[in-house]
């Protein structure tokens, strides 16, 4: 056995407990996600889940000719392009404010975390009371003689979806950013001040640079959470929402309800490929940036 192998065995023994504990979650992930995913991939290549005749890549071709899949894809991309950056900017801003405030900062954190603890059904009920035709918002706007709008069934529905997403997820990202901000050594700011750097320069050169690893983490978490907004939207608007908020999960859910597993699995595989590729790219990029920072 050469030295490298001996070293590997030694490392393995040293981290035995860690690997043992990780294996439980890994097995769960394997049996409940990875294996079922690959088994279900079979349906992407058959015409029908019951007759199961092989059709090659026809389901994928059909999917890219399906205007509802494309609509779902377009709306999902629009939603992500608006909500993810907005979420990151607002939560960073709030994190910086909370970091500056010395009094009641813990209570402020708690206020932003409350939406995370509220069950989706309750959240949906609350927003329905706000945005329905006879809801609070229309009653309020009525005072100023504005005409009532069925917000969730109008051209504004995408903004409502973004708003609900932000309301629910800002607190979580804010906490991550606060942790990231606290990890930046105070001495860097002192040094920058001595060099005559302005507040903007301190923010740009010190804060943003050393928050890069946190940014990656927040981005990935926000990206994943952005798919979860479907639950609230589905409870609010059902399987036939306004065309502006018809997202990929609506398409998939409706495919499940109509037993169209070939289309369902094909769209899932496309989505998974995009998500995994993006996350891999992000991790590689983050690894490189972190390495540069530590050097």
């Amino acid at each position: 056995m050469n030295n490298n192998n001996l070293e590997s065995v030694r490392k393995l023994r040293k981290n035995k407990t860690a690997y043992l504990m990780l294996s439980a979650s890994l097995l769960g992930f394997l049996f409940f996600y990875i294996i079922p995913y690959f088994i279900s991939m079979f349906y992407a290549f058959v015409d029908n889940p019951l007759s199961k005749s092989f059709v090659g890549l026809i389901n994928y071709r059909d999917l890219f000719n399906n205007k509802y899949f494309l609509r779902g894809l377009k709306n999902t991309i629009i939603f992500m392009c608006i909500s993810i950056p907005l979420n990151m900017i607002i939560s960073l801003g709030l994190a910086m404010i909370c970091n500056k405030i010395k009094v009641f900062s813990k209570y402020l954190n708690l206020v932003f975390l409350i939406p995370l603890a509220i069950p989706s059904a309750t959240t949906a009920f609350f927003w329905k009371q706000v945005f329905s035709l006879n809801g609070f918002l229309n009653k309020f706007l009525g005072i100023f003689n504005f005409e009532a709008v069925d917000w969730l069934n109008s051209k504004y529905s995408m903004y409502i979806m973004v708003f609900i997403f932000l309301w629910k997820n800002i607190g979580y990202n804010m906490i991550l950013f606060i942790a990231g901000l606290n990890n930046i050594p105070k001495s860097y700011y002192e040094c920058a001040q001595l060099e005559g750097a302005s507040r903007w320069q301190q923010f740009r050169i010190v804060t943003l640079t050393y928050l890069v690893p946190t940014f990656f983490l927040v981005f990935i978490m926000t990206f994943i959470n952005s798919f979860k907004v479907f639950k609230e939207i589905y409870i609010l608007t059902g399987d036939n929402p306004h065309e502006n908020i018809y997202i990929l999960q609506h398409f998939m859910n409706n495919m499940f309800m109509s037993l169209n597993y070939p289309k369902l699995v094909s769209s899932i595989s496309i989505l998974i490929t995009v998500i995994v590729s993006l996350i891999i790219v992000m991790f590689i990029f983050e690894g490189r940036v972190s390495k540069n920072l530590s050097e």
């Binding site: 290549f45 019951l50 092989f54 399906n66 069925d150 499940f256 109509s258 037993l259």
Partner: protein, 451 residues
């Protein structure tokens, strides 16, 4: 990488090969089954899936097992009907909770179908049948029907045929729902306006024209078109012209047509002009008149035949082509993956029998002509009293005449009718304009077909 691709291709080819083989085996098995059908035995075990409790199915299952001791029929009911008693002693059913919603039932059923564990016989009324037929969930019953020699002599074939589609018959209706329209006799007497006496059925639009004339030509107070609302008028007019708005074969919809918007605006205009009551009628202390009334056949027949009936010329509603429109009641299908299709069919055939369809728990008149007199007679006796009476034989004859006129399916799919109903309702509640409603329906129906 190349190795992985080659391996993947091998797996896919093997899988497709296996599928083809298993299909061949099934085809061959079907041929064998056909030749052996004549001397087959009725035995084995099947499961029947119901959304709601159906007493007659439970009783029929018991009777079937008594008749064929080597069989076992399991009836699985998704939700039990719960009743509450109100303070004035009335008994009301309680709306199902989210856990027992129709959607939850469909999710559970879909999962079972995909895992090959769905029931052998499935109640089809709440299912999105257009989608299920496309996916081949149900067995075509045509051969079974032919094999049993089910014909006009013993069954209302016109009702059974409601379960037919382009690709075969995947549902067996046990009963039927359709509308009977009648006019207010006093309003007819006042004005002398009445439909052609030779009419056996009438389109809703023709009936509506007569009803408007009846309202316009009377001096009586509190006279309105019907107890319904404007959106129900619009819905009836859409159903009557359904072929203009939906092409089921091409999976296309045409709700963005001007004709559809005209229907919506026409119905709303009637509402604005005061043809519908706005909740002003005190039903117990006020004289009031509705120019037309729409009722279900068994009740409409009784109201028509009472000595001092206020109904004038009751008849079924037909579409613009003169075909009486109906909806299947209590329809069943056989799961195409069932391992005991023959027994499943025998049970459905038993549900169609005179024995089952004449049971009091069957409630309505069914498709079996032999049981028709018993069921109709039972309802007629219930509606007969010292105060209001009619000849029971007249009742049966009238009802039978109406049943024989049933011709075409109304909406083949509940999801579609719900979409149209919901969006039209929004228009009449001033949530959207007629153009927006038309666009929304067009988009939703198109999506339903082509998603």
């Amino acid at each position: 990488m190349k190795r992985i691709l080659v391996l993947l291709m091998c797996v896919l080819i093997t899988l497709s090969g296996c599928t083809q083989n298993s299909k061949d085996v099934i085809d061959h098995a079907d041929e064998v089954t056909q030749t052996e059908k004549a001397d087959k035995k009725i035995e084995g075990e099947i499961t029947v899936s119901l959304l709601d409790e159906m007493e007659f199915v439970d009783i029929a299952a018991e009777k079937f097992m008594d008749k064929y001791p080597n069989t076992n029929i399991n009836v699985e009911t998704f939700r039990e009907t719960e009743f509450i008693e109100t303070t004035d002693g009335a008994v009301m059913s309680v709306a199902p909770t989210e856990e027992f919603s129709t959607e939850s039932y469909l999710q559970q059923l879909n999962t079972k179908i995909m895992s090959g564990k769905a029931a052998d016989v499935i109640f089809t009324n709440p299912l999105p049948m257009i989608k299920y037929r496309e996916m081949g969930v149900f067995e075509d019953l045509t051969d079974y029907i032919d094999e049993k020699g089910i014909d006009e002599e013993n069954y209302f074939m016109n009702i059974i045929n409601l379960g037919k589609s382009e690709k075969g018959q995947f549902e067996m209706p046990l009963s039927v729902y359709f509308d009977i329209i009648s006019f207010d006799k006093e309003l007819v007497d006042d004005s002398g306006i009445k439909p052609n006496e030779n009419l056996k059925s009438i389109s809703y639009s023709d009936a509506l024209k007569i009803a408007i004339d009846l309202v316009d030509n009377t001096n009586r107070d509190n006279t309105y078109l019907s107890i319904g609302r404007a959106y129900e008028v619009a819905y009836q007019l859409v159903e009557e012209n359904l072929e203009d708005f939906i092409d089921f074969d091409k999976k296309k919809s045409y709700f963005d047509k001007k004709e559809f918007i005209d229907i919506l605006e026409y119905a709303k205009k009637l509402d604005q002009e005061g043809y519908f009551d706005k909740g002003t009628i005190d039903f117990y202390n006020m004289e009031y008149h509705f120019a037309y009334d729409i009722d279900f056949p068994s009740q409409a027949a009784a109201f028509t035949l009472y000595d001092d009936s206020i109904s004038y010329q009751s008849m079924p509603i037909c579409n613009k082509n003169g075909k009486v429109m109906a909806r299947m009641g209590s329809a069943f299908g056989i799961n195409s993956q069932s391992e005991n299709k023959d027994l499943a069919w025998e049970f459905i055939y038993f549900l169609m029998s005179e024995e089952v369809q004449s049971m009091p728990s069957f409630y309505t008149t069914g498709i079996n002509k032999g049981s028709f007199d018993a069921s109709a007679g039972r309802y007629a006796e219930m509606m007969n009293s010292d105060e209001f009476s009619f000849e029971i034989s007249d009742y049966k004859n009238l009802l039978r005449t109406w049943y024989e006129q049933v011709d075409v399916n109304r909406f083949a799919d509940y999801n579609l009718s719900n979409i149209i109903y919901e969006e039209m309702y929004n228009y009449f509640e001033d949530v959207c304009t007629a153009e927006e409603a038309s666009k929304n329906i067009q988009d939703r129906v198109d999506k339903y077909f082509n998603e």
